[in-house]
Each structure stands twice: as structure tokens, then as C-alpha cells.
């Protein structure tokens, strides 16, 4: 691959990183704290390419020879062409955040199902009381964690608002969310079973804000600690900017 082509590719890759870091779509792939790293590495790529281009032009004018021709770095760099793949993926396809398909692929594994044996040995924990509002907005992780381990029963008979996407699996309808620690490759689902208020009619990957109550004692080892959520109201919403929980 020629030097000029390499430099253009570097500008494109750096530009792609800057684009997703600045327009917020990086949140589909990695956690928010990566943003400064993405911006820094995008800038470094563009600067390295720019420096090489400027030096090549200067030395071309001086000696009619590219600056670093002596290093003969042409062999074995055919693989550099592959750098164009993520550029095309980001600019043209812009893959969406993970959704119902990733939940199905996890095969019943959730943040709770696998952690339960270790933690139930310690016995149930006391959670701080919920705020006194009539409808309590909770993250999916917190809701499910409380449903399994909260000895004080703070969720019982409270109306809670959960935000997530719809996933159908084995005849049940779930409201699900994916929890990531680093990037989308390590996503683990967290989910509740939706019952009532026409929740079954929603299609996969539709984002919902759901108000409802927990069915006490419904999260058991038998169902991989997936609590049942008796739905009061369902409101379809747009996909949130930050689709994952952390």
C-alpha cells in the first residue's frame, strides 16, 4: 500500500472515531467514560497522518523524493486495507445498539441468574427505602437486584417506572436492557417478564417506558430470577441516547 493511501486511511479512521465520539453514537458500542480516549486517539491519528503528508510534500519539493522512502515499508502491509472496514461500517451502516437478538443469544444468562448462588449464601441485604414519589423511576438493574435480595420488600405494592426494550422468548414477553462493563462485546442482559396492558403485542426492540408493580416472590431460581412485572401503563418511547446500563 502506498504511503499516501495509508495517510488517507488514517485520516478516515481518526475521523470516524471523532465522528462517533462527538455525535454521541459511541454510546452504542462502549461505555461513556471512553469518550475522551476516543477523541484523543482520533486526533492523534489525524495529526500523525497530517505530519506525514506535510513532510512528504516538503521533502518532495526539496529532493523530488518521498521523505521516508528509504524504509521501504511496502511489504506485508496489505492487511492495512482492512482499516477501511470499520470506516465503512461506521459511516455507512452505523450498526445499532444491541437489542433483543443479543438477549436471545445470552440463552437465559442474566446479571442475576449467574450471580445468585454466590450472593444468596450471604443472605438478603437491606436496601435503602425508595423515594416517596407516586411513580418511582428505577434502572432495570436496581429493580431486579431489589426483587431478588431486598429483605425489606421495598418494591412491594409500589408503582415503578422501568425503561427498556421488548424481547420475546419462548412465549413470554420481556422488558430487557443490556449491562456492559467495557464494550458491547461483554453485554449481559437484565430483564423482567411483562404481564398485562397489551404488552405482548409490542414488537421486538421497541423501547418502552412501563409503569407497573412487581408480583412479590416471582423472581425464583426456577425462572433464572426474572421477576414478573404487572403492567399498569405502557408508553412507547424513542431509543434513548445511552441504551445500556453499567
Amino acid at each position: 500500500m502506498r504511503r499516501e493511501t495509508q495517510n488517507v486511511l488514517l485520516v478516515l479512521v481518526g475521523g470516524a472515531l471523532l465522528k462517533i465520539a462527538l455525535n454521541g453514537s459511541y454510546l452504542r458500542y462502549v461505555r461513556p467514560s471512553i469518550q475522551p480516549w476516543l477523541i484523543a486517539s482520533g486526533v492523534v491519528m489525524v495529526v500523525l497522518a497530517a505530519v506525514a503528508i506535510v513532510r512528504d510534500i516538503r521533502s518532495y519539493h526539496a529532493t523530488e523524493q518521498p521523505a521516508a522512502d528509504h524504509d521501504g515499508h511496502r511489504h506485508g502491509s496489505r492487511s492495512s486495507w482492512l482499516l477501511v472496514v470499520p470506516v465503512l461500517a461506521i459511516f455507512l451502516i452505523a450498526p445499532p445498539a444491541l437489542g433483543a437478538d443479543a438477549v436471545a443469544r445470552a440463552g437465559g444468562r442474566t446479571i442475576i441468574s449467574q450471580a445468585a448462588p454466590a450472593v444468596t449464601q450471604q443472605g438478603a441485604a437491606a436496601f435503602p427505602p425508595l423515594p416517596a414519589e407516586p411513580v418511582v423511576p428505577l434502572s432495570m438493574s436496581e429493580f431486579v437486584t431489589r426483587s431478588v435480595w431486598d429483605a425489606t420488600g421495598s418494591l412491594n405494592s409500589r408503582v415503578v417506572r422501568l425503561t427498556g426494550f421488548v424481547a420475546h422468548e419462548g412465549g413470554s414477553t420481556y422488558l430487557a436492557r443490556l449491562v456492559i462493563t467495557c464494550c458491547a462485546a461483554d453485554a449481559t442482559p437484565v430483564k423482567v417478564t411483562l404481564v398485562g396492558a397489551g404488552a405482548d403485542a409490542q414488537r421486538d426492540d421497541q423501547w418502552l417506558a412501563v409503569d407497573g408493580r412487581i408480583r412479590p416472590g416471582s423472581a425464583t431460581q426456577h425462572n433464572d430470577y426474572t421477576p414478573t412485572f404487572d403492567v399498569v401503563t405502557v408508553a412507547p418511547i424513542a431509543t434513548p441516547a445511552d441504551p445500556y446500563e453499567y
Binding site: E4, T5, Q6, Y29, A67, V84, L92, Q114, P117, D186
Partner: protein
């Protein structure tokens, strides 16, 4: 250059068609994971090539020789412990290890550093402690087993390794420059490393995304009680999932149905051998090197994890 333009124009023309064939759930999930692995790994690769460029431009071979012990066995230990100082994932350590070799650091020493840096740095150890709040001995076991892997691999390479396994281009030294020319060496080295390693990182990310989608997670569930099967499956998963070393502790922690020992194997093998790392090693050091180094590292990592795990964790549980 003309080819690049043609590729870009074609891609734009066929954008709708491309987006349509990718609109299958499995392919959509795969493409998201692919971009996620790339986006996650590129900053670390950039960090790695900047350090590599800085070593090429500002750290002379005689200086490195003075810092390292003359005895190769001791130098391998020092390199393993020096890994604590590079908080990054495995993508950062490959270009740095190569540059160390170019500056005259003995190969086993540079390779010990390559294996240690992603596994024993403070960021990874803190992440492990956070992921295993009920089993703090996992941090000690991980540190010990990963350090042992890198040191043992260094010693084995001292004894059995051959210089000609590493591609000649990987070892060609950059002439030392002085004054302002050093900055030119810095920029040029970093740029070349980035372009060379970048392509192989993409191969690795692609492989990891494919396997991430194809390998059924039900594997995790069936292997729980059988020790040999559990260790083997967790070692294979560490290789094929290619998680970054800062995230793998959380994935291992979420597999609480498994005993601690196979999960320790997962944590020790992952930063030493995975598909993304092997792709980078093929690109940086050549095929002949990777074909010998990766299987050897896998065996040593599994062995170290099992021995240290039995000692620190007190058996298969």
C-alpha cells in the same frame, strides 16, 4: 490511492443494498460487536504506538541495557514486574514489545513484558477486585498466575526460542536521531506501527465478533461440575471471546455457576492468548513466531492458573 477511491465510491453507491443484507438480526448483532471491539481497542493501540514511537526516538539501546540486569533470567523477572507500569489492554503491549526488541532488549525479556503488561497492571487488578467482592483472593491468584505465565514463558524462550522465528522486518532497528529529528522519528514510527498493526487488529475484531455471536452461551451452563471440562471450555472461551483485560473480570464474575478455578483460567489465558492478540502478533512478528508462541503461551497460562489457583484458592471450588 485510486483503489481506495474506487472502494469508497462503490460503498456509497451500494449503501442501501449493504444496509439491507445486514438487516438480519445475527448480522446486526455481529456488526455492532465488531465495531464495539474496534472502537474499544483502537485507543489502546494508539497509546501503544505512541509509547513505541517514544522508545524509538528517545530511549537509546545502551540506556535500556544499563537498566536491565545482565543475567537473562533476572531480566525476565524485571520485565514481568515492569508490566505493572503499562495500564492498557493487550493491543497496547504488542507494538511496545516489538520496539523493545529493536532497541536491543533480549527477545525473552521483551516477550515477558508483552505477556505481563495487559494482565498485572493496577487497572486490571482493581477491576478484578471490584468484580469479585466476595473472593478477594482472586486478585492475588490472578496477579500470581499471570506473572508466573510471563516469567515462565520468558525462561522457556531463553532456553528454546530461536531468533529466526521472528520476522526480520520486526527487528530492523530505526537509526537513532538527535535534536529535532527525534520528533520526526517519533511521528514516523508511531504512524507506521499504527498502519501495520491496525489491519491485524481489524482481523482480530472481526474474528472475535463472529465467534461472539456463534458460540452458544449454553456452554457455560453444562461444564460446571467437571473440572477438566470446565478448565478446557473456559480456556477456549477466553481465546475466542477476546475480551479486553479490563472487562473480562466482570464477565468471569457473572459466571457464578462455575467454581473459581476455571474462572481464574479464563482471566489468566485471556490477556495472554486470544484471537485478536494472535492476529496482532502475526502482523507484528510474523506467522512463524505466532504459530509457536500462542500455543505455548496457552499451555503455560493454563498450567500457571491451575497451579496457582490450587494453592491460593484452595482446590477446585
Amino acid at each position: 490511492m485510486e483503489l481506495l477511491c474506487a472502494v469508497l465510491v462503490l460503498a456509497v453507491v451500494f449503501q442501501d443494498w449493504l444496509a439491507r443484507i445486514l438487516d438480519v438480526p445475527a448480522l446486526r448483532t455481529g456488526s455492532t460487536v465488531f465495531v464495539a471491539v474496534c472502537v474499544q481497542a483502537l485507543p489502546f493501540l494508539v497509546l501503544g504506538v505512541l509509547i513505541s514511537g517514544a522508545i524509538a526516538a528517545f530511549v537509546s539501546a545502551p540506556l535500556l541495557a544499563r537498566v536491565l540486569p545482565r543475567n537473562p533470567a533476572a531480566a525476565v523477572c524485571v520485565a514481568g514486574l515492569a508490566g505493572v507500569a503499562l495500564p492498557g489492554c493487550e493491543c497496547a503491549s504488542v507494538p511496545v514489545a516489538r520496539r523493545l526488541m529493536q532497541q536491543g532488549v533480549p527477545q525473552p525479556v521483551a516477550l515477558a513484558f508483552l505477556l505481563a503488561a495487559p494482565a498485572v497492571n493496577p487497572v486490571v487488578l482493581v477491576a478484578t477486585a471490584v468484580a469479585f467482592p466476595t473472593a478477594p483472593q482472586m486478585v492475588l491468584a490472578r496477579f500470581g498466575a499471570s506473572l508466573a505465565t510471563s516469567v515462565v514463558m520468558g525462561w522457556l524462550w531463553t532456553r528454546f526460542g530461536r531468533a529466526e522465528w521472528i520476522a526480520e522486518r520486526a527487528l530492523r532497528a530505526v537509526p537513532m536521531a538527535a535534536g529535532r529529528a527525534r520528533w520526526a522519528v517519533f511521528a514516523e514510527t508511531a504512524r507506521t506501527d499504527l498502519v501495520d498493526a491496525g489491519g491485524f487488529l481489524i482481523i482480530g475484531a472481526f474474528t472475535a465478533a463472529t465467534l461472539n455471536v456463534l458460540v452458544p452461551r449454553s456452554w457455560f451452563a453444562v461444564v460446571g461440575t467437571h473440572p477438566v471440562l470446565g478448565i478446557a471450555v473456559m480456556a477456549i472461551l477466553a481465546v475466542v471471546l477476546a475480551l479486553c483485560s479490563e472487562a473480562d473480570a466482570f464477565v468471569a464474575a457473572s459466571l457464578a455457576a462455575l467454581p473459581l478455578l476455571p474462572r481464574l483460567v479464563f482471566l489468566v489465558v485471556g490477556p495472554a492468548v486470544d484471537v485478536k492478540l494472535v492476529a496482532l502478533q502475526v502482523g507484528t512478528f510474523g506467522r512463524r513466531f505466532a504459530a509457536r508462541f500462542a500455543p505455548m503461551a496457552l499451555v503455560v497460562a493454563v498450567g500457571a492458573a491451575v497451579v496457582i489457583g490450587l494453592l491460593v484458592l484452595g482446590g477446585y471450588r
